[in-house]
Amino acid sequence: MTNVPSARVRTSSVTPELVSSLVAAALGALALVWLLYERILPTSGMLGFWLCWYTAFLALYAVVVGLTQDRLAVSDRIAAVVFSTAGLVLFSVLLLVVGFVVDKGWDAVHHWNFFSETTALIGPDAPLDRGGIYAAAVGTLEQVALSTLISVPLGIATALYLNEVRGHLAGVVRTIVEAMTAIPSILAGLFVFAAVVLTLGFNRSGLAASLALAVEMLPIVARTSELVLRLVPNGLREASAALGASQWETVRRVVLPTARPSLVTAVLLGVARVVGETSPILLTAGFTNELNYDPLHGPQVSLPLFAFTEVRFPVDNAITRAFGAAAALLLLVLLLFTSARVIAGRPLGHVRRRERRRLARAFATATDPTRQVPTA
């Protein structure tokens, strides 16, 4: 096949010419910039070096391509390189952030006590084989669970109002929900602080923190749930109505079961957004090193708050603990996110085998001729 190259049109955009000109420009720029930057000009610093290298690389690449092609092709090639660089920079930032945090926190995380002890009785300078994030993890789980309990029913009901009932207020509610998603998280904390702590006179507690997180989570859940409900085919609703079901029955037996996997995704994404929020908790939860299972009374620490507090001690061990907590937080977000994606990957209205059996049984009873069918 290789001896008749003209018979085949190459559709791949990666040609030997492209690769060689890229490599040539990159190496040439590296040599040039190293000479100028490190040897001749009084400049230093990694970031500056690579910025200069990139500029020189673009210029050299334009020249190399310009040797064989016209100006249009040169600008096309340069644009491709610039956009790809932007993409590459963005994704390498993500990898750098994750890699750096895990690397710095590793010394703390690989001690088992990091997950089973608290920092209640030790100082910030204590060795890493003592103390840990147990109290913070308990706080995070309780606060996030409470805020989910508050915001999910409210959010899904709001979505039902927007998409199923479509009442007079739907337009206003939709606008307000959109506006609420954009409110800075610290204002959610400030609001709960002003309302619950200052006005109602309660102390800072885990519950107050959950309320702040719920205020932040509610618009996210409401908005994504509405988008999900919109994807439920109208034919299903009409079929249900044609069988004589009321709107409540349609919602309960048709719309919600159909949308269930996507609703779970919406909730998980909402949880992933609030699980690492620090600023609202800073104002509402108070801080303690002690283990506090009771979200209703007394201050309660959580993972982001723990990381935030530890990192401000000018001590290496405390900072490593902060990075350990941040790594745990990242892992939590990653878990929530991946499970959201996996569930979202299922098609809308996917029925698991167990449920299919249950439905078949229900159908058999419903169509059983011996059963008395009530007439309208």
């Binding site: 920079v89 952030v97 409210l154 199923e164 739907a170 506006a179 982001p304 935030f308 929530l336």
Partner: protein
């Protein structure tokens, strides 16, 4: 048979007196929607109500006073506001070019098989907590950016006076600056901006793209003449949305800047402040007038972000409605 025909008619005519279940369902759902609606109103109401003593006492000078001495009645958000705006603008300078390039890369240049993965990576990046970015910015990015700051101030400081830095010999004059904080905030908001831009770009009409390519345009020519003009609303709206997020970013800023109560006029110089970071730093404030002042600062931030985000929403909505009629 008549029963079957009658039923839908009956249902439409008795819409106002539905079954008990039905009535309860609607009442509950409407109630929840109203609670959501009220919550937003309550946020504004409580901020206004609890900050009223401070706003009343400070009067209009709350917006022009830069000091924060609530006990002697000299307090205002002017310095904080300047820092907030400067850091927001630096964040945009970082985020918008990066997001523009990355969204075009994902839509136009990345291999088709990778596209889904890249989109979920952007979503994941948006879900990474800002404290993680803050830690990374302080310990990883800051030491690597001092060289750049020094170079900028040494070579451009003469031409652009706002880039000048006092005590340029000591490295600590370059740390904890608005420039570094703004860069980190820019990285925090990049995913949001990218996903808005990417979504709008992906709605560019296929027929026009193909027409441009069929006329012999290069890929860049097609992007320049079809995708970018079509997505202009998305670019502006996405940037505004990013600005809204950047103005309210708290923890990443708080970890990096060294707080001062003066106008942020030299972004490369150490020291700045934003409303959000200031509120977080004074969260243990005890005097009632000081607390009221903090809530007043919160109210200013609330109005500022509401304004920016409403403008963004209008622009994005307009560009999307254009997509539908296309």
């Amino acid at each position: 048979m008549t029963a079957v025909v009658d039923r839908p008619l009956e249902r439409t005519s008795t819409e106002s007196v539905p079954l008990a279940d039905e009535r309860a369902f609607r009442a509950v759902v409407r109630g929840c929607a109203i609670v959501t609606l009220l919550l937003m109103g309550l946020i504004a109401l409580f901020l206004l109500l609890r900050s009223w003593p401070a706003l009343h006492r400070a009067g209009f000078s709350f917006l022009t006073e830069k000091r924060w001495l609530p006990d002697v009645n000299h307090f205002g958000v002017a310095a904080l506001l300047s820092g907030t705006v400067v850091i927001g603008c630096i964040a945009l300078l970082v985020a918008v070019p990066l997001a523009l390039g990355a969204s075009l890369f994902i839509n136009e240049y990345a291999p088709r098989r990778l596209r889904r993965l890249l989109v979920s990576m952007i979503d994941l990046m948006a879900a990474v907590p800002s404290i993680v970015y803050g830690l990374w910015g302080f310990f990883f990015l800051q030491p690597r950016m001092i060289g750049l700051s020094r170079w900028l101030s040494a070579h451009l400081g003469g031409v652009l006076p706002f880039l000048h830095v006092h005590d340029a010999d000591t490295p600590s004059s370059f740390t904890s600056s608005a420039f570094i904080a703004g860069t980190v905030v820019g990285i925090v908001v990049v995913p949001t901006v990218t996903s808005v831009m990417r979504e709008v770009f992906s709605q560019a009409p296929v027929a026009e793209r193909e027409a441009a390519l069929a006329l012999g345009s290069t890929k860049w020519g097609m992007i320049r003449t079809v995708v970018i003009p079509f997505g202009r609303g998305g670019i502006i709206g996405g940037s505004m949305l990013g600005l809204g997020r950047a103005l309210g970013e708290t923890i990443a800023v708080y970890l990096i800047i060294s707080p001062i109560l003066d106008y942020t006029t030299h972004p490369l110089q150490s020291g700045s402040n934003t409303i959000a970071a200031f509120i977080a730093s004074r969260s243990t404030e005890s005097s009632s007038i000081g607390l009221a002042g903090l809530l007043g600062a919160g109210l200013v931030l609330f109005l500022l972000t509401l304004l920016v985000n409403s403008i963004a929403a209008v622009i994005v909505a307009r560009s999307r409605s254009g997509a539908v009629t296309e």
